[in-house]
Structures are given as structure tokens and as C-alpha cells.
Symmetry: C2
Subunit: 246 residues, 2 copies
């Protein structure tokens, strides 16, 4: 079944109205006919609105609500991925995969060793693009919530943003933690806890950045004995959290 995202205001009692690019896509690409069933979500909660297509107007698809499901496809914890800006278009892969793995929010971080530098204007364009990728991925893997991609922050800003989160993890190569300890830390995360994960750039975090994180009690963890690329590291931690939490 195909899934579409709408604004809350487009769900009006038992009438659901689809607008925008989806109209052409449904009519001319997917060729969905009146009577066929689709899944509609608002992108803000875990509810799935199952609708039947009633009719196509010039720029709308009018649907009728059949029933609402609380599917529970979301993880019981909110996971925030603080991803230092990687080279080239790797961030696109990271956003897509993080959404599939159940991330709640993605915060690009401009760490000191990041090769990519973004000014305000460039950053906004990139964030728009990444947000689009997050939405497409959420649609494809049938998430209930579209994870937000925030504007890039410095490491200091990111640490301050993560201040109130219940668990804050910093995987890095020189971590003294071994895998058994890392497992213990992850298994200690109860459902409902918010989790921040800080992933360094290609060259790793600078010592000063690691110290800054440790000073505010961020927990160092290991990712095993092989050196992982920056785009792999976050996906591994997200896989572990999903394994433990779901």
C-alpha cells in the first residue's frame, strides 16, 4: 500500500484531502483509482489513517477515512543523531539510512576537522535537501514521523542542545571502553529515554572537542576493533539502539 504525508489540517473529520505534487503522482504515475486504499500520515505521530480514494479534482484527491491505526512503528525512545559534516554527498546516505533505522532528529555538526564548510545560505539549501531525503525515506519505510534535520551547529552548540537528554554517547577510536562495557551502557537505556549520539568527521574529533564532551559527562563508547568510516559509525549505533529498544 502506498503512504502519503499530509498536514493535520488536511484531515477534516472523515474527509482527507491530498494536495500538491502527490496529486499528479497518484493520478498519473501510480494510477490509483477511486475505491483503492491508501495510508495517510501527518508525520508528527504514530497514527496511520487508512483512506479510500473518492475522486480526483483538478488539484486535489478527495479521500474518505476508513479507520485509524496506531501502528507503533516508532522506537520507544527519541534518538538524536549529531553527525559531523562528512565529505561529498555522504550526508545524503546517512540521512536516508538513519531515518530507516528509526532516528528522531538529525543535527549536522560543524566540527573542527570537517572538510566541508557551509555558510548560512549554503547550509539552508543543504538542510532543505536533506529534509527532503528524510521525508522520502520516511515514506518509503512507512515511518509515522518525519525526522527533522536541523541547521548545522558547532560542537559547543550541539553539546548545549543535547544537555537535557537522558543518555549522550560519544563513540571514538581512542575510547578506553571495551565492547562489554559498551553493551552494558546500551542495555542500561530504558524505553522513553532520549538518546544523543555524537559521530565525528572523517578525521575524527579533535582532542579538545572530546574533552569538552567528557567535561559535560557525555559517555564514551567503542564501536569495536575495526576502524569504521564516519557514515558507517552512526548506522551501527542506531542499529544497536534499535536492537535493544524495539
Amino acid at each position: 500500500m502506498y503512504q502519503f504525508f499530509v498536514k493535520s489540517s488536511q484531515i477534516q473529520g472523515t474527509r482527507v484531502v491530498i494536495t500538491g505534487n502527490d496529486v499528479n503522482h497518484m493520478k498519473n504515475v501510480l494510477r490509483l483509482k477511486p475505491g483503492e486504499e491508501i495510508a495517510v500520515r501527518c508525520g508528527v505521530d504514530d497514527k496511520e489513517y487508512r483512506c479510500g480514494i473518492e475522486e480526483y479534482t483538478k488539484d486535489q484527491v478527495i479521500c474518505s477515512l476508513r479507520f485509524v491505526r496506531e501502528e507503533g512503528v516508532e522506537l520507544p525512545s527519541k534518538i538524536y543523531l549529531f553527525q559531523c559534516l562528512p565529505k561529498a554527498d555522504k550526508m545524503e546516505l546517512i540521512v536516508q539510512k538513519a531515518v530507516e533505522l528509526g532516528v528522531h532528529e538529525i543535527v549536522p555538526v560543524a566540527a573542527r576537522r570537517c572538510v566541508v564548510k557551509l555558510d548560512e545560505k549554503k547550509a539552508q539549501a543543504k538542510v532543505n535537501r536533506w529534509q527532503g531525503i528524510a521525508e522520502a525515506a520516511a515514506k518509503q519505510c512507512r515511518r509515522g514521523v518525519i525526522p527533522a534535520v536541523k541547521m548545522p551547529m558547532t560542537m559547543k552548540e550541539a553539546l548545549s542542545y543535547a544537555e537535557g537528554m537522558d543518555v549522550r554517547l560519544l563513540p571514538y577510536e581512542l575510547s578506553q571502553e571495551d565492547m562489554a562495557q559498551t553493551r552494558k551502557i546500551i542495555e542500561g537505556i530504558g524505553p522513553g529515554k532520549s538518546v544523543a549520539v555524537f559521530i565525528g568527521p572523517e578525521g575524527g574529533f579533535e582532542e579538545g572537542e572530546v574533552e569538552m564532551a567528557l567535561a559535560v559527562d557525555v559517555t564514551p563508547v567503542t564501536l569495536g576493533r575495526r576502524i569504521l568510516r564516519t557514515e558507517t559509525a552512526g548506522l551501527v549505533v542506531l542499529s544497536w539502539l534499535m536492537y535493544h529498544l524495539e
Copy 2:
């Protein structure tokens, strides 16, 4: 430190000889000087040979062995990824990431719903390319072993190849197993056990293929409540196995 792969025959007592493309790379790209230390591996075991560069000849780098480390970067179990051929160049990403995550061998599988069809000649060219990617990834993440990429098999051949393996897992959407059961299955895998993981193509396995696998006691598992893309699914299972085994 830079790491290079050689054939066993190139380690002659305390003299280690590097040949081929690495010679130019070391001399003119990395500009390594006599006296500098490098890591050399055979690609077949977990031993790291630490060497000092002695001299460059026309087509060789002569090094002297300083000491041998048994690093233990390999997982204590051999993991075989049976990956149904994905569309476009996704297999390249899968090979790279699987090597980072500690896979032992990668077997491309031509399942019925695979869009990509490879004849003998094309398959050989692809496998050569994937093997090159596996070697580069092993170098980059400092693995001791270069995972082999096999020639594509049908699902029937793949099941027969995996017959003797200790644990054989088939993640698929319609699996009745929930996450708690899946965790129990993974936690039951002891070190030293060989593990086969079967990942379907974009359209999923055909019912007949799933039945064929279940008939030979392959264990179905779930990957959670979100639908994962084929290139994500294997990486998630490998992350879980690494989490449990390392």
C-alpha cells in the same frame, strides 16, 4: 600508520618485499621514507607484520620485519553474507560496509525477483570489481583478512553452500518472529560458530524461496517494524552480530 597487503611468499623471514602498484603509491603518493614504519598483512589471518622501510628498488620496496602482532581485529565467528543482487551500484556500498563490519565472505545471490541479471562474463567482471572494493575496504579499516566475494549463486545453490554452517538467518518482512525472539536467537550464537545471513532483493524473496529456506531449517528473524531497504538490511544484521560477538 599505513597498511599494505602482500602474498605470504613476500614475507621471507625478517625480509618483507612489497611489489606491484603499492610501490609507486608508497614512494610517490604517500612519500614514505626509509626508516618509517608500516603495517603489512597477508590477508588470510589476523597477524600484523610491523616493518621498517629499508630501501626502494626499481619495482620493489624492501622492508625489515620489526615485530608481529596478533591484533584480534577479526570477529570470533565467520559471517557469510548471502546478498541478493540489488539494483544499480548498491552492491558496491554493501560490500564496502560489510567488510567494515567484519564479514568473512560475501555471496551474491541471483534470487527470482532480482532485477539485475548477470551472464557468466558480466558476473566475473562484477565480482572482480567487488573483490577490489573488499580489498580497499579491508585496507582502510585495517582488517587482517580480505573477505572473498564469490561468484553469484541461485538461491538453491546458496542454501546448499550454507548447509554446513552453524547458524543460518533469514530476515524477512512477514516473519512471525518478534524482536525479543530475534535477540534470543542472536544471543544464542556462541563464538566460533559460522553464521549465514540471507538478504532478499528489493522486491523481497518469493514465497517459494522462503519455503525452500525454511524447509532446510533456516531460521526466520525480524528486522523491526520499519521496512528496511535491501542494502540496509544486511548492515543491520552485521551490526547486531558484531554487537553480540565482539
